[in-house]
Protein backbone atom coordinates (compact mmCIF):
# COMPACT_ATOMS: atom_id res chain seq x y z
CA UNK A 1 0.00 0.00 0.00
CA UNK A 2 1.16 3.49 -0.84
CA UNK A 3 -0.22 6.33 1.27
CA UNK A 4 -1.31 9.36 -0.71
CA UNK A 5 -0.12 12.31 1.42
CA UNK A 6 -1.93 15.51 0.58
CA UNK A 7 -2.48 17.63 3.71
CA UNK A 8 -4.36 20.30 1.77
CA UNK A 9 -6.97 17.73 0.70
CA UNK A 10 -7.21 16.55 4.31
CA UNK A 11 -7.86 20.10 5.48
CA UNK A 12 -10.59 20.56 2.86
CA UNK A 13 -11.96 17.16 3.86
CA UNK A 14 -12.07 18.13 7.53
CA UNK A 15 -13.67 21.50 6.75
CA UNK A 16 -16.29 19.96 4.46
CA UNK A 17 -16.86 17.23 7.04
CA UNK A 18 -17.52 19.79 9.77
CA UNK A 19 -20.05 21.47 7.44
CA UNK A 20 -21.76 18.11 6.82
CA UNK A 21 -21.90 17.43 10.56
CA UNK A 22 -23.24 20.94 11.25
CA UNK A 23 -25.97 20.35 8.64
CA UNK A 24 -26.90 17.06 10.31
CA UNK A 25 -26.96 18.75 13.73
CA UNK A 26 -29.20 21.52 12.37
CA UNK A 27 -31.68 19.00 10.96
CA UNK A 28 -31.65 16.94 14.17
CA UNK A 29 -32.01 19.77 16.68
CA UNK A 30 -34.19 21.92 14.42
CA UNK A 31 -36.57 19.41 12.88
CA UNK A 32 -35.96 16.24 14.86
CA UNK A 33 -34.87 14.41 11.73
CA UNK A 34 -31.97 12.12 10.86
CA UNK A 35 -29.98 13.53 7.95
CA UNK A 36 -29.73 10.45 5.79
CA UNK A 37 -29.47 11.16 2.07
CA UNK A 38 -30.84 7.76 1.02
CA UNK A 39 -33.59 7.82 3.63
CA UNK A 40 -34.87 11.25 2.64
CA UNK A 41 -34.63 10.54 -1.11
CA UNK A 42 -36.30 7.16 -0.63
CA UNK A 43 -39.05 8.78 1.39
CA UNK A 44 -39.74 11.33 -1.34
CA UNK A 45 -39.67 8.68 -4.09
CA UNK A 46 -41.82 6.09 -2.39
CA UNK A 47 -43.53 7.74 0.58
CA UNK A 48 -42.49 4.86 2.80
CA UNK A 49 -41.53 6.83 5.90
CA UNK A 50 -43.72 7.01 8.97
CA UNK A 51 -45.37 9.98 7.22
CA UNK A 52 -44.62 11.96 4.11
CA UNK A 53 -42.86 15.12 5.19
CA UNK A 54 -43.24 18.28 3.17
CA UNK A 55 -39.80 19.43 4.28
CA UNK A 56 -38.00 16.66 2.39
CA UNK A 57 -38.36 18.51 -0.92
CA UNK A 58 -36.66 21.72 0.28
CA UNK A 59 -33.91 19.55 1.77
CA UNK A 60 -33.28 17.86 -1.58
CA UNK A 61 -33.55 21.19 -3.37
CA UNK A 62 -30.81 22.61 -1.12
CA UNK A 63 -28.65 19.50 -1.46
CA UNK A 64 -28.84 19.49 -5.27
CA UNK A 65 -29.17 23.24 -5.87
CA UNK A 66 -26.55 24.78 -3.54
CA UNK A 67 -23.61 22.89 -5.12
CA UNK A 68 -24.98 23.80 -8.58
CA UNK A 69 -24.93 27.49 -7.65
CA UNK A 70 -21.43 27.17 -6.18
CA UNK A 71 -20.25 25.49 -9.38
CA UNK A 72 -21.78 28.30 -11.46
CA UNK A 73 -19.86 30.86 -9.40
CA UNK A 74 -16.53 29.11 -8.84
CA UNK A 75 -16.50 26.54 -11.65
CA UNK A 76 -16.93 22.79 -11.47
CA UNK A 77 -14.31 20.65 -9.73
CA UNK A 78 -13.44 17.40 -11.48
CA UNK A 79 -15.86 14.67 -10.49
CA UNK A 80 -14.01 11.97 -12.51
CA UNK A 81 -17.32 10.19 -13.17
CA UNK A 82 -16.79 7.03 -15.21
CA UNK A 83 -17.72 7.19 -18.90
CA UNK A 84 -19.00 3.61 -18.69
CA UNK A 85 -22.76 4.27 -18.50
CA UNK A 86 -23.89 0.61 -18.05
CA UNK A 87 -21.43 0.32 -15.15
CA UNK A 88 -22.83 3.51 -13.60
CA UNK A 89 -26.39 2.20 -14.03
CA UNK A 90 -25.46 -1.08 -12.33
CA UNK A 91 -23.70 0.80 -9.52
CA UNK A 92 -26.67 3.13 -9.10
CA UNK A 93 -29.14 0.26 -8.78
CA UNK A 94 -26.88 -1.46 -6.22
CA UNK A 95 -26.55 1.74 -4.18
CA UNK A 96 -30.28 2.49 -4.39
CA UNK A 97 -31.39 -1.03 -3.40
CA UNK A 98 -28.65 -1.56 -0.84
CA UNK A 99 -29.21 1.67 1.05
CA UNK A 100 -32.99 1.14 1.24
CA UNK A 101 -32.58 -2.47 2.38
CA UNK A 102 -30.07 -1.39 5.02
CA UNK A 103 -32.12 1.71 5.93
CA UNK A 104 -29.17 4.04 5.54
CA UNK A 105 -25.99 5.07 3.80
CA UNK A 106 -22.84 7.02 4.60
CA UNK A 107 -24.74 9.99 6.02
CA UNK A 108 -27.51 8.16 7.89
CA UNK A 109 -25.52 5.22 9.30
CA UNK A 110 -21.99 6.63 8.95
CA UNK A 111 -22.47 10.13 10.34
CA UNK A 112 -25.76 10.21 12.28
CA UNK A 113 -25.89 6.60 13.52
CA UNK A 114 -22.25 6.10 14.46
CA UNK A 115 -22.17 9.40 16.38
CA UNK A 116 -24.94 8.08 18.67
CA UNK A 117 -23.15 4.74 18.98
CA UNK A 118 -25.91 2.74 17.30
CA UNK A 119 -24.70 -0.85 16.91
CA UNK A 120 -26.72 -1.27 13.71
CA UNK A 121 -25.07 1.75 12.16
CA UNK A 122 -21.55 0.77 13.22
CA UNK A 123 -22.07 -2.72 11.75
CA UNK A 124 -23.62 -1.35 8.54
CA UNK A 125 -20.70 1.04 8.11
CA UNK A 126 -18.16 -1.74 8.68
CA UNK A 127 -19.91 -3.93 6.10
CA UNK A 128 -20.22 -1.33 3.34
CA UNK A 129 -16.64 -0.17 3.89
CA UNK A 130 -15.35 -3.74 3.67
CA UNK A 131 -17.59 -4.58 0.68
CA UNK A 132 -16.46 -1.39 -1.04
CA UNK A 133 -12.78 -2.12 -0.51
CA UNK A 134 -13.19 -5.73 -1.61
CA UNK A 135 -15.22 -4.80 -4.71
CA UNK A 136 -12.71 -2.14 -5.65
CA UNK A 137 -9.82 -4.57 -5.24
CA UNK A 138 -11.50 -7.17 -7.44
CA UNK A 139 -12.66 -4.67 -10.06
CA UNK A 140 -9.42 -2.75 -10.40
CA UNK A 141 -6.61 -5.04 -9.36
CA UNK A 142 -7.91 -8.52 -10.29
CA UNK A 143 -10.12 -7.79 -13.31
CA UNK A 144 -8.30 -4.64 -14.32
CA UNK A 145 -11.44 -2.60 -14.91
CA UNK A 146 -12.39 0.81 -13.41
Amino acid sequence: MTLLVNPQDWLFGLTGGLMIGAAAALLLLGNGRIMGASGILGNVLTGTGPRIRHEDLPFLLGLIGAPMLAVLVWGAPDSHVSGDLPLLALAGVLVGMGTRLANGCTSGHGVCGMSRFSTRSILATAVYLFAGMLTFFVARHLIGGL
Binding site: L18, A91, G98
Partner: protein
Protein backbone atom coordinates in the same frame (compact mmCIF):
# COMPACT_ATOMS: atom_id res chain seq x y z
CA UNK B 1 -40.06 27.16 9.41
CA UNK B 2 -39.41 23.41 9.14
CA UNK B 3 -38.94 23.81 5.41
CA UNK B 4 -36.46 26.66 5.88
CA UNK B 5 -34.40 24.58 8.32
CA UNK B 6 -34.53 21.58 5.96
CA UNK B 7 -33.52 23.68 2.96
CA UNK B 8 -30.62 25.27 4.88
CA UNK B 9 -29.44 21.87 6.14
CA UNK B 10 -29.61 20.44 2.60
CA UNK B 11 -27.65 23.37 1.20
CA UNK B 12 -24.99 23.17 3.93
CA UNK B 13 -24.76 19.39 3.41
CA UNK B 14 -24.31 19.83 -0.35
CA UNK B 15 -21.69 22.57 0.03
CA UNK B 16 -19.86 20.50 2.65
CA UNK B 17 -19.74 17.55 0.27
CA UNK B 18 -18.38 19.81 -2.46
CA UNK B 19 -15.71 21.37 -0.19
CA UNK B 20 -14.71 17.98 1.24
CA UNK B 21 -13.89 16.61 -2.20
CA UNK B 22 -16.37 13.75 -1.85
CA UNK B 23 -18.10 14.66 -5.13
CA UNK B 24 -14.84 13.57 -6.78
CA UNK B 25 -15.39 9.86 -7.44
CA UNK B 26 -11.64 9.34 -7.83
CA UNK B 27 -11.04 10.49 -4.25
CA UNK B 28 -13.71 8.13 -2.92
CA UNK B 29 -12.31 5.23 -4.94
CA UNK B 30 -8.85 6.24 -3.69
CA UNK B 31 -10.15 5.74 -0.13
CA UNK B 32 -11.36 2.25 -1.04
CA UNK B 33 -8.09 1.37 -2.80
CA UNK B 34 -6.39 0.06 0.34
CA UNK B 35 -4.08 -2.30 -1.58
CA UNK B 36 -3.04 0.37 -4.09
CA UNK B 37 -2.53 4.10 -3.59
CA UNK B 38 -4.63 4.79 -0.52
CA UNK B 39 -6.17 8.26 -0.12
CA UNK B 40 -7.17 8.78 3.54
CA UNK B 41 -9.14 12.01 2.90
CA UNK B 42 -12.52 10.35 3.54
CA UNK B 43 -11.48 9.60 7.13
CA UNK B 44 -11.04 13.35 7.71
CA UNK B 45 -14.47 13.99 6.19
CA UNK B 46 -16.21 11.33 8.27
CA UNK B 47 -14.34 12.38 11.42
CA UNK B 48 -15.15 16.02 10.80
CA UNK B 49 -18.82 15.21 10.27
CA UNK B 50 -19.09 13.04 13.36
CA UNK B 51 -17.67 15.73 15.70
CA UNK B 52 -20.64 18.18 15.54
CA UNK B 53 -23.03 15.23 15.72
CA UNK B 54 -21.43 13.87 18.91
CA UNK B 55 -22.22 17.27 20.43
CA UNK B 56 -25.70 17.37 18.87
CA UNK B 57 -26.65 14.00 20.38
CA UNK B 58 -25.47 15.26 23.80
CA UNK B 59 -27.72 18.31 23.43
CA UNK B 60 -30.58 16.15 22.14
CA UNK B 61 -30.29 13.85 25.17
CA UNK B 62 -31.21 16.78 27.42
CA UNK B 63 -34.15 17.89 25.29
CA UNK B 64 -37.10 15.64 24.51
CA UNK B 65 -38.02 17.65 21.42
CA UNK B 66 -36.40 19.50 18.54
CA UNK B 67 -36.99 23.26 18.11
CA UNK B 68 -39.92 22.54 15.80
CA UNK B 69 -41.57 20.45 18.49
CA UNK B 70 -40.95 17.09 16.80
CA UNK B 71 -39.66 14.47 19.23
CA UNK B 72 -35.97 13.57 18.87
CA UNK B 73 -35.95 10.23 17.00
CA UNK B 74 -35.48 7.39 19.49
CA UNK B 75 -32.61 4.95 19.09
CA UNK B 76 -33.80 2.39 16.51
CA UNK B 77 -34.39 -1.18 17.64
CA UNK B 78 -31.03 -2.86 17.22
CA UNK B 79 -32.11 -5.54 14.75
CA UNK B 80 -29.07 -7.12 13.11
CA UNK B 81 -30.38 -9.14 10.17
CA UNK B 82 -29.62 -10.14 6.61
CA UNK B 83 -31.43 -7.09 5.36
CA UNK B 84 -29.04 -4.73 7.17
CA UNK B 85 -25.88 -6.70 6.36
CA UNK B 86 -26.82 -7.76 2.81
CA UNK B 87 -28.11 -4.31 1.93
CA UNK B 88 -24.92 -2.72 3.22
CA UNK B 89 -22.83 -5.17 1.18
CA UNK B 90 -24.78 -4.33 -2.02
CA UNK B 91 -24.40 -0.64 -1.25
CA UNK B 92 -20.64 -1.00 -0.70
CA UNK B 93 -20.22 -2.81 -4.02
CA UNK B 94 -22.09 -0.13 -5.95
CA UNK B 95 -20.23 2.60 -4.06
CA UNK B 96 -16.92 1.12 -5.18
CA UNK B 97 -17.93 0.69 -8.83
CA UNK B 98 -19.07 4.30 -9.27
CA UNK B 99 -17.33 6.20 -6.45
CA UNK B 100 -20.68 7.72 -5.48
CA UNK B 101 -22.82 7.22 -2.40
CA UNK B 102 -26.28 8.87 -2.25
CA UNK B 103 -25.30 12.26 -0.73
CA UNK B 104 -22.47 13.13 -3.14
CA UNK B 105 -24.45 11.70 -6.07
CA UNK B 106 -27.21 14.22 -5.33
CA UNK B 107 -24.73 17.05 -4.69
CA UNK B 108 -23.12 16.36 -8.09
CA UNK B 109 -26.36 15.58 -9.95
CA UNK B 110 -26.68 19.05 -11.48
CA UNK B 111 -23.16 19.44 -12.85
CA UNK B 112 -21.40 16.09 -13.30
CA UNK B 113 -22.82 15.37 -16.76
CA UNK B 114 -24.54 12.34 -18.25
CA UNK B 115 -22.73 9.89 -15.99
CA UNK B 116 -23.98 11.59 -12.84
CA UNK B 117 -27.54 11.65 -14.20
CA UNK B 118 -27.44 7.96 -15.18
CA UNK B 119 -26.18 7.02 -11.71
CA UNK B 120 -28.83 9.18 -10.03
CA UNK B 121 -31.69 7.76 -12.09
CA UNK B 122 -30.50 4.18 -11.54
CA UNK B 123 -30.21 4.85 -7.80
CA UNK B 124 -33.76 6.20 -7.73
CA UNK B 125 -34.89 3.10 -9.67
CA UNK B 126 -33.19 0.82 -7.15
CA UNK B 127 -34.93 2.58 -4.27
CA UNK B 128 -38.32 2.33 -5.96
CA UNK B 129 -37.67 -1.34 -6.76
CA UNK B 130 -37.08 -2.18 -3.09
CA UNK B 131 -40.40 -0.59 -2.27
CA UNK B 132 -42.25 -2.16 -5.21
CA UNK B 133 -41.08 -5.76 -4.84
CA UNK B 134 -43.17 -7.38 -2.10
CA UNK B 135 -40.27 -9.59 -0.99
CA UNK B 136 -38.09 -6.55 -0.39
CA UNK B 137 -40.63 -3.96 0.70
CA UNK B 138 -39.27 -1.64 3.35
CA UNK B 139 -40.57 -2.27 6.82
CA UNK B 140 -41.67 0.78 8.70
CA UNK B 141 -38.47 2.22 10.17
Amino acid sequence: MRSVIAGAAGALFGLGLLVSGMTDTAKVQGWLDVTGTWDPTLAFVLGGAILPMLLAWQVAARRPRALSGTPIPPMPKQVIDGRLLGGSALFGAGWALAGFCPGPALAALGWSGTGGLVFGLAMAGGMIAVNALPALKTRAA
